[in-house]
Symmetry: C2
Subunit: 346 residues, 2 copies
Amino acid sequence: MDLSERKLGILKAVIDDYIMTGLPIGSRTISKKHGFDLSSATIRNEMADLEELGFLEQPHTSAGRIPSQKAYRYYVDRLMRVVKLSHAEAEKIKRYFKDRMSEVEQVMEKAAQALSDSTHHISMVLRPQLKRSVIKRIQMVKITERKAILLVITNAGLVTDTVIAVPEGLTPSYLEMIGGLLTEKLSKKTLEEAEQDLICCLRENIGINSDFVSDIISAIETSVEPQGERGIVLSGTQKIIEFPEYMSVEKARNFLSVLETKEMLYDMMKKATKLEFSVTIGQENMVKELEDMSIVTATYKIGGESLGSFGVIGPTRMDYGKVISILGYVSNSLNSIFSNFIESDD
Amino acid sequence: MDLSERKLGILKAVIDDYIMTGLPIGSRTISKKHGFDLSSATIRNEMADLEELGFLEQPHTSAGRIPSQKAYRYYVDRLMRVVKLSHAEAEKIKRYFKDRMSEVEQVMEKAAQALSDSTHHISMVLRPQLKRSVIKRIQMVKITERKAILLVITNAGLVTDTVIAVPEGLTPSYLEMIGGLLTEKLSKKTLEEAEQDLICCLRENIGINSDFVSDIISAIETSVEPQGERGIVLSGTQKIIEFPEYMSVEKARNFLSVLETKEMLYDMMKKATKLEFSVTIGQENMVKELEDMSIVTATYKIGGESLGSFGVIGPTRMDYGKVISILGYVSNSLNSIFSNFIESDD
DNA sequence: TGTTAGCACTCGACATGGAAGAGTGCTAAT
DNA sequence: ATTAGCACTCTTCCATGTCGAGTGCTAACA
């Protein structure tokens, strides 16, 4: 699996060039553009070797070569240089985050926009996985005769709020009392634990109108894990038409239908929450519809813990180096924004 | 401008057929498919007349004819039959609204999805224009040491909630007091009036930390009218690739850039709030990038007043009859959902 | 007078067939 | 080990020809 210095150089040249142009690269191009002091014939021999090793492919007999998936993998693992962002690019991203933001929703949206705008790929941002964050308080505020807002406040400084219906005639102080009860039962627990508790043993302990209680419970539950559609934010789906690889309407449609359901992406992103960076190239993702797409992800932290991930999805021919450096930059931005959400425990 | 019965029939046949197939219609097709007892030659003569009158156009000499914008206008105003939705179609829409929903955001999203799914066009839903709804109460709830949630409760039963920063050391009861003060000053006023008041004469009246007060004010202001991006929900933008008229990448891109900025759409939708239904065909919309798109809108009511509009945008070749009946159905659905948001004034 | 049949004509869609150009593999010379 | 040269392959592009759909016009018909 060890390639000669020269083969490495040629492989890198082919990949770099292909990432830029999207066109198969011929031996002549390489001997000219990239200062190798070798004739095209020599390069040809080397390229033939690389093809035999599975790093290059020919779309047809007399076209140039294009990198294989194996080549991209090798590139990402060993050849790639993660470039530092230019000042202009960094500024462009900063601009998205310049408003002071106090709501997760808004931050996610901005992040998604910044990503797709900078990378020119479709971006995905996973909502924070709050399961492991700890409840500080639960509070209910009556807003009209029959409605209240349920606030769940966690140590991550994040709040989820849901409007719930309340039986007529409940006094505000009564609601407050229930809030107090819930806080007492559930505070110091993670949302995940709380969910368990809610299901099994809360109903009995609070001897009130049971319809109301189950409303509250389901509200807390959905706030813990907003599923599928609401769990992931996409941006820049329009970008696909810019990629020649999706000119075939058939493919484009298939791909879009995957994006629309989101389930698949949601699962992937959730797994990716464990790794600081991940790069999944082509068929590595095991999903047929995405077999010539790559997915690059990174994570963000809230209170020191990786609670969510985000990334981009695009054709395997992707400028991995640049994408990764952009993700890194956004990751830092998110971390610092979210750190403002947190307050030291009292 | 009065056409003979026969010309009318032929015109309708051409439009109906073109809406279905997207292909130019020849005289033969019409004499065969649509039970006219006339030969193709006769139809040809009539079509030549219709072309002279500006209702039909020929893409090139020996193709069939396609309807002109004028024809669509005529069709919508006089020829079209608004078909009743089939049971299956109605059910399909109902399914989107089956969950009990308590938040405007969610309703809008579902409505947009239902629309784009049923019409196969891009759909747009305008957030309720709350300016004219009346404030009932303003309340602040402290959630952490330095944060509070600001709740604005209106007679439309709608709540906007924003997280705001509070100076350290403010007691909950103090916040409650400020809430009470604001309620006293602003309740019974429309949000629009309230905005005026806030700007000119509130600062002096409440002699507190002025940074904090202006935070509150700007939070209320943005809750009154979430501009541009946040004021309109789009769905189904992916649909464009399904339309042959957008195969030219250049056009598609232009169109998408209009959608992305949203400003234009926002203005249109806002104007449309005044009319129960509106149909804007092709160049009637005065926007160059949308010159071969049509926009059909309807409105929804909250508490008897038209507070928002929604609609679809698609190629002029659009099944207007069906689209309008779908909009009608969705309008009813929204009205009944929102009526649950309201509670009788006390 | 309105309708129809017939015919020449036009134009796009599609298939066919070189010619040009890019790139390759192989061989022989350096 | 490298390179120049050459035959070969395959795509792209353009010109050409054919087919079919549709038209407009004229003459005949009811």
